[in-house]
């Protein structure tokens, strides 16, 4: 007991000392003057008499400004407001006329002309055009082009020049805009001119090579840094650059070095590009290679700088601070490196990989200027799938698109619209309508009646509204953006489709997790046919698939807008002529946007047994095997897209307890498991 008391005494004593000490320290700190030099100027002083200070301007002074007459800027210092007449673009939006080439044209010019003609803005009549495109004469020929007929002082003209060299212009530019490859910052007029990338001679017209980054890897493993050298070559350096002068040229030997000949792409994390190097080609090479461009005080405007946020994909550093840049690159957080590399790939693929993309991006920029407030927001330009594939006319709000839910913190609407393509059928698909209307997620049913016969006046009673839309014969019209479609999700169906409510419910829940993809029940797969030297596709059941049939598939309604307004007309005509082609086309379109395969969900085999025998060949319905003639369609599509966008998948998404040996009562989607 005594030890207890002794101890508590000690403790009390200790505690009191501690308290005293604790109390004393702040006092000591207060007491010791913090500044050794009393009276020296220290920080910005807190004035004792701030209330005596006056405001920098008297009330009213700012409002009494004398007015100045408006100045119209003309000629050399043109800007968009003063030198472009948007009144011509009213109504039809941007219409582009391109002056036909006179005489023989070079390959590059031919590609540019083809790209403009393939654009959705192209018009053949100069009178109705609001933008007239003039290809700057080839510098090599030295020929003097006459002033074009509709010149009008250059008003509403865009002079396209793919070479940065000051081209010998035989006429004054007047009020024309200039789209020039790598223009110098001194002559570039922001918001009026367009900066283009410098394209190599053999740049493909369409499609184009994909980026080199095949996986999300922050470091390619070979080198940290590659330096641009003359002639489009790269000097891959290790991590030791202490001996390297920073103008991009290194005389000394720095251990292991490899020099790539020709246009080989650099295999490094960062690509150092000197600012005044004549060879701006390096920039595109680095972009394609997924090598983060480090531009040292560039004297040229970065391509499409009006809309592309280059800080997300490149680093513009000061050439005078080499060591600092180097340290910053070495110490850059992994997360940032990863993000920068991925952005290079996205930008390359969205805007630079083909001549067509470069031209279309240019036109899209002009279109955005005309649109003013309803132009693409910055998010649409700077995140996948890019502004060419995200039409601002669809919606002003990014959360209406299927692509930006994560960035916006939004989710797709929780209901769907069933769109039943009537085909040539004379009978309403009663069973199908009942099954679909039975889904708790169904908001409405739309029937596209396209038979010769008038639609029946009586339709089955359903829990959801049923609307009949009339009068379309063309197959491609099933993907028209009907204003009646009020939900984000569309369940596209044929009159012949057979589905159960469970299947619809589950597929829709899956779609909500993947709103940018197609979620379907029946699949096709494409393959490379060695024998025929072309693509083929099959409906046979295989271990993988790359297309889902639109006769029963969920997808976002945005794809209707894209299908109707962004696809080249030739491809849609093709689909109208060979109706099975429309499935291929839709799958091509979605795959080229998402770069991902569609999603397959389980589909009861009993549907197929219960189904009536196939109707007329090629007609809509649950087509089992594509017709031989239709096989050719996939090759035409691939040619139209310039590449094969389809991606294969080896998985199917099933309900969590699908066919598990547990009580059926535990399972949410029971009827999916019918034998």
């Amino acid at each position: 007991m005594q030890s207890w008391r002794r101890k508590s005494l000690w403790l009390a004593l200790l505690a009191s000392w501690l308290l005293i000490l604790l109390g004393l320290f702040p006092l000591l700190r207060l007491a010791v003057p913090t500044s050794p030099r009393a009276g020296a100027p220290q920080g910005w002083p807190r004035w004792l008499d701030t209330e005596l200070l006056q405001s920098f301007a008297k009330p009213g002074e700012l409002l009494e400004d004398g007015p100045r007459p408006p100045q119209a800027l003309r000629g050399g210092s043109c800007n968009w407001g003063a030198c472009f007449d948007t009144s011509k673009c009213r109504g039809g939006g941007l219409k582009v006329f391109v002056y036909p080439a006179a005489g023989p044209v070079s390959e590059t010019r031919r590609r540019i002309l083809a790209s403009v003609e393939g654009s959705r803005y192209h018009t053949l009549s100069a009178a109705e055009a609001c933008l007239l495109l003039l290809l700057s004469p080839d510098t090599s020929t030295g020929e003097r082009d006459p002033v074009p007929p509709q010149w009008d002082g250059g008003r509403n003209h865009l002079v396209l020049s793919l070479h940065p060299a000051p081209c010998p212009r035989t006429f004054q530019l007047g009020q024309a805009m200039v789209a020039e490859a790598s223009p110098t910052v001194d002559t570039f007029r922001p918001g009026f001119d367009v900066a283009l990338p410098l394209l190599p001679e053999a740049h493909p017209l369409r499609g184009g090579a994909p980026g080199q980054l095949r996986q999300h890897s922050p470091r390619p493993g070979v080198a940290l840094l590659a330096l641009a050298e003359d002639g489009g070559r790269w000097h891959v350096a290790g991590t030791d650059f202490s001996a390297c002068p920073w103008d991009g040229r290194c005389e000394q030997d720095r251990g292991p070095k490899q020099t790539h000949p020709g246009a080989t792409l650099p295999n490094a994390t960062f690509c150092l590009i000197p600012g005044r190097g004549p060879d701006v080609l390096h920039f595109l090479q680095a972009l394609q290679a997924g090598c983060i461009p480090v531009l040292l005080s560039p004297r040229w405007e970065l391509p499409f700088s009006e809309v592309i946020d280059w800080t997300k994909a490149a680093i513009v550093a000061d050439e005078r601070l080499p060591l600092q840049v180097l340290t910053a690159l070495q110490e850059m957080p992994l997360t940032r490196v990863l993000a920068l590399r991925q952005q290079t790939q996205f930008l390359w693929d969205a805007y630079f990989s083909s001549v067509e993309k470069v031209i279309h991006t240019t036109l899209e920029i002009i279109q955005d200027r005309i649109f003013g407030p309803s132009a693409h927001p910055s998010l649409l330009w700077n995140s996948p799938p890019g502004a060419i594939l995200a039409l601002p006319t669809f919606s002003p709000s990014p959360s209406d698109f299927p692509f930006y839910h994560l960035q916006q913190g939004s989710r797709p609407l929780g209901r769907f619209s069933a769109l039943i393509w009537g085909g040539a059928l004379g009978q309403p698909p009663l069973k199908l309508i009942q099954a679909v209307a039975g889904s708790e997620h169904c908001a409405q049913i739309l029937v596209l009646w396209s038979s010769e016969k008038p639609p029946p006046t009586r339709w089955p009673k359903t829990a959801v509204p049923l609307t009949v839309i009339d009068g379309h014969r063309k197959v491609s019209d099933r993907f028209f953006p009907y204003s009646a479609i009020s939900t984000d999700a569309i369940l596209s169906l044929d009159a012949h489709s057979s589905l159960s409510t469970s299947e619809v419910d589950f597929a829709f829940v899956v779609w909500q997790s993947f709103p940018e993809r197609m979620v379907g029940f029946l699949t096709w797969s494409h393959f490379w046919d060695e024998a025929r030297g072309g693509w083929g596709y099959t409906a046979k059941r295989t271990n993988e698939f790359s297309m889902v049939l639109t006769s029963a598939a969920f997808y976002h309604r945005y794809y209707h807008t894209l299908f109707t307004h962004a696809l080249p007309k030739a491809l849609r005509t093709l689909a109208d002529e060979a109706p099975t082609c429309v499935d291929v086309l839709m799958n091509f379109l979605v795959a080229s946007v998402t770069k991902l395969p569609p999603i397959k969900v389980p589909y009861g085999m009993w549907h197929q047994e219960a189904r009536p025998p196939p109707l007329e060949p090629g007609g809509p319905g649950l087509r089992q095997e594509p017709q031989p003639a239709a096989q050719n369609c996939i090759n035409q599509m691939a040619a139209g897209f310039g590449h094969m966008p389809l991606v294969s998948s080896r998985l199917r998404l099933d309900p969590v307890l699908f066919k598990d040996p547990v009580s059926v009562l535990r399972k949410k989607y029971r009827s999916l498991e019918k034998p």
Binding site: P45, A57, L63, P373, S374, L406, L596
Partner: protein, 679 residues
């Protein structure tokens, strides 16, 4: 009992035993010493501290004591500014040099009063706003007192209002600054921020007044040409357009700046701005218009009709989101242009305009800091603030997720995956796992993390011979987080984390898991799925491992994921989660599920029907009671992590991934993954 015994043993050992007499002696001695110390402190420092306690950090001086500098009439005038200046030509970055924090250093010249030969002051010493601005700079991280270390210089000569300046004399004053050097690296503020400061109080109250007017013009001194255009607009669109002008018939005593009139109707300014959806900002004598600030503050969307007007901070702020720019030539169309903007976009713009005002223009301090941040971003571009950080209002930032693996791609199969086996001492089981996993075709490397410090791993000759490289990593401490360390030995992007007792997974199952990961490289791909549920009675999260129709987590006893998540787990795990996991020796898998879901905003992918990892040998100890404590612990983990993350990031889904032909009526030998295993 245990605790008190320990205490009794330890207590006396710490305090030396002493006789009572001695103890008292010591206590007294110590107290005297202490008292002495206190007394010394009091006498030595007390008087000082009373005097200086209020200004021990910053000096307080009177504005009237500012030193006076006489400028001779013939002192040098600086050259005119070079209009072709660019950051890389005119700015001397060498002064900024290397800086680990990537922050510029700003020096402020001390305040002087400049007078000319006749003794007449060159300008007012300093205005209230400029003092506020310099105070904000001095209080920021950028400020330095050492002129030699500074990379940016701010003169204390007040240039805010150009009208009040004596230009030549002010220039002379600038030229004699100690580091002027033709103005290199000097930052001059010349601005018209906001209206006069005497009418802000009345404004901040009613934010959401009905916006009665569609378009409003409130500027007073406008060119007649503009006024005509505006009048025409009003005539065409009637009530929706309101054009205000200076009041001519105001009685005495009412400040003219606070009133605007339309014909004989008098409106309070700037309150009237709150009643309009769009407000016109027209070109005046200066391009920059004070009305812009008033308009932003009122939550009205500015309609800029002034060609070549560079909007404030336009280098970083996306004004398209908060304003409408109409070319001067198209002024007559302004109504139809605005009419074409959908309502949702208008609301978005209003929100954006308000956010710009609050974040960057509300106070002199906000303006000063935004200015310095922009310059800082130019000098240290690799550490610059992103577009989203500048432009997204907090409500958007909070809900948005930026997936670090956002690029949609399917990695090539050829690279394969690295299996990481965490083991302690179950060598026999470990060897079986190694043998089984090595049968998976896409395995490219096997990494054994030896977590036992007391025992050496078996000799090389004893390990099973497999076709891929096998590496053993020894750890310094037996910690669960070692399994998620980004070892340099991992050369593939795909990682398979696998326990040393998971021998039931078939080769087909693992290979299929890898194929699924390739299609979802930004997700956790695992076998048994688990679910979190909200327990309404207890008002907290609950861990669920029963047969559910949903999953939100996968166990990492065997799971594929991207190597990058190892880096995130080790270096970027929020709060104390990592230590918590190591201390509890549990829930590392839940922590990984939280981390991945939080950073990607996406759900896990459960593969194949498997529900449990049950090793045949350990069923005996897997008793019911153990199971229950296990569940309680796991639930606790979920609640703990949710509180650290500040949200519940896990996403619930109802699907799992199976091979395309799984359980289909199809010949087994034609299926790619026939042996998908059991539950």
């Amino acid at each position: 009992m245990c605790a008190s015994v320990k205490y009794n043993i330890r207590g006396p050992a710490l305090i030396p035993r002493m006789k009572t007499k001695h103890r008292i002696y010591y206590i007294t001695l110590f107290s005297i010493v202490l008292l002495g110390l206190i007394a010394t402190g009091m006498f030595q420092f007390w008087p000082h501290s009373i005097e200086s306690s209020s200004d021990w950090s910053v000096q307080k001086r009177s504005i009237r004591d500012v030193p006076v500098v006489r400028l001779p009439a013939d002192s040098p005038v600086p050259e005119r500014g070079d209009l072709s200046c660019r950051m890389h030509t005119c700015f001397d970055v060498y002064r900024c040099g290397f800086n680990p924090k990537n922050k510029i250093k700003v020096y402020i010249y001390s305040l002087k009063k400049y007078v000319d030969d006749a003794g007449v002051p060159v300008s007012s010493t300093i205005s209230q706003e400029y003092n506020e601005l310099l105070t904000a700079v001095a209080d920021s991280d950028y400020y330095t007192e050492d002129i030699a270390r500074a990379c940016l210089f701010i003169p204390s000569i007040d240039l805010l209002n150009q009208n009040a300046l004596r230009v030549k004399e002010t220039a002379q004053a600038l030229a004699q600054l100690s580091r002027w050097d033709r103005g290199t690296n000097h930052l001059l503020f010349n601005m018209l921020p906001g209206g006069p400061p005497d009418y802000n109080t009345a404004l901040d109250v009613p934010r959401d007044r009905p916006r009665r007017y569609f378009l409003l013009s409130s500027q007073m001194a406008l060119h007649p040409e503009y006024r005509e255009e505006l009048a025409a607009l009003q005539a065409r669109h009637g009530e929706a357009v309101l054009v205000l002008d200076k009041c001519t018939n105001l009685s005495e005593g009412i400040p003219a700046a606070r009133k605007r009139c339309h014909k004989h109707q008098v409106f309070d300014y700037p309150q009237v701005l709150q009643e309009a959806t769009f407000c016109v900002v027209l070109r005046g004598a200066r391009l920059g218009q004070a009305v812009l600030s008033d308009v932003l503050r009122a939550g009205c969307i500015p309609v800029i009709i002034a060609d070549s007007y560079i909007l404030p901070f336009s280098e970083v702020l996306d004004w398209k989101r908060a304003s409408v720019a109409v070319p001067e030539e198209k002024m007559s169309d302004v109504h139809s242009i605005l009419q074409s903007i959908p309502q949702r976009q208008i609301e978005e713009m209003q929100r954006q305009a308000r956010w710009f005002w609050e974040a960057y223009f509300q106070s002199i301090k906000a303006i000063a800091l935004a200015t310095l941040q922009i310059i800082n971003d130019r000098i240290y571009p690799y550490a610059a603030i992103s577009y989203e950080d500048w432009n997204d209002p907090p409500s958007v930032k909070w809900g948005s997720v930026s997936n670090p693996l956002f690029l949609p791609l399917i990695p090539p199969q050829s690279q394969g995956f690295t299996a990481i086996v965490l083991t302690y001492d179950r060598v026999e089981s470990l060897f079986r796992v190694i043998t089984e996993v090595s049968k998976v075709p896409s395995l490219s490397k096997l990494l054994v993390v030896w977590n036992n410090q007391n025992k050496n791993p078996p000799e090389d000759s004893l390990w099973p011979k497999i076709r891929v490289p096998l590496k053993v990593v020894r750890t310094a401490e037996n910690k669960l987080s070692n399994r998620f360390f980004p070892y340099d030995e991992i050369e593939t992007e795909a990682v398979l984390a696998i326990d040393d007792d998971i021998i039931m997974l078939t080769s087909d199952e693992l290979q299929f898991g890898y194929e699924v990961w390739r299609e979802f490289p930004d997700r956790l791909v695992g076998y048994p799925g688990r679910l979190h549920l909200w327990d309404h009675e207890m008002s907290k999260w609950k861990y669920e491992s029963e047969w559910t129709n949903e999953v939100s987590m996968v166990l990492t006893g065997a799971a594929f994921y991207h190597k990058y998540f190892n880096y995130l787990y080790t270096y970027k795990m929020p709060g104390d989660i990592k230590n918590w996991v190591d201390a509890h020796m549990n829930c590392e898998d839940i922590a990984m599920n939280f981390l991945v879901a939080n950073v990607t905003g996406k759900a896990v992918i459960k593969v194949t029907p498997r529900k449990k990892f049950k090793c045949p040998e350990c069923t005996a100890i897997d008793g019911l009671s153990l199971d229950q404590t296990h569940m309680v612990e796991r639930s606790e983990c979920i609640n703990k992590f949710a509180s650290v993350f500040g949200t519940m990031p896990l996403k619930v889904v109802e699907h799992r991934a199976d091979p395309v032909l799984y359980k289909d009526d199809f010949p087994e030998k034609l299926k790619s993954f026939p042996n998908i295993g059991s539950l």
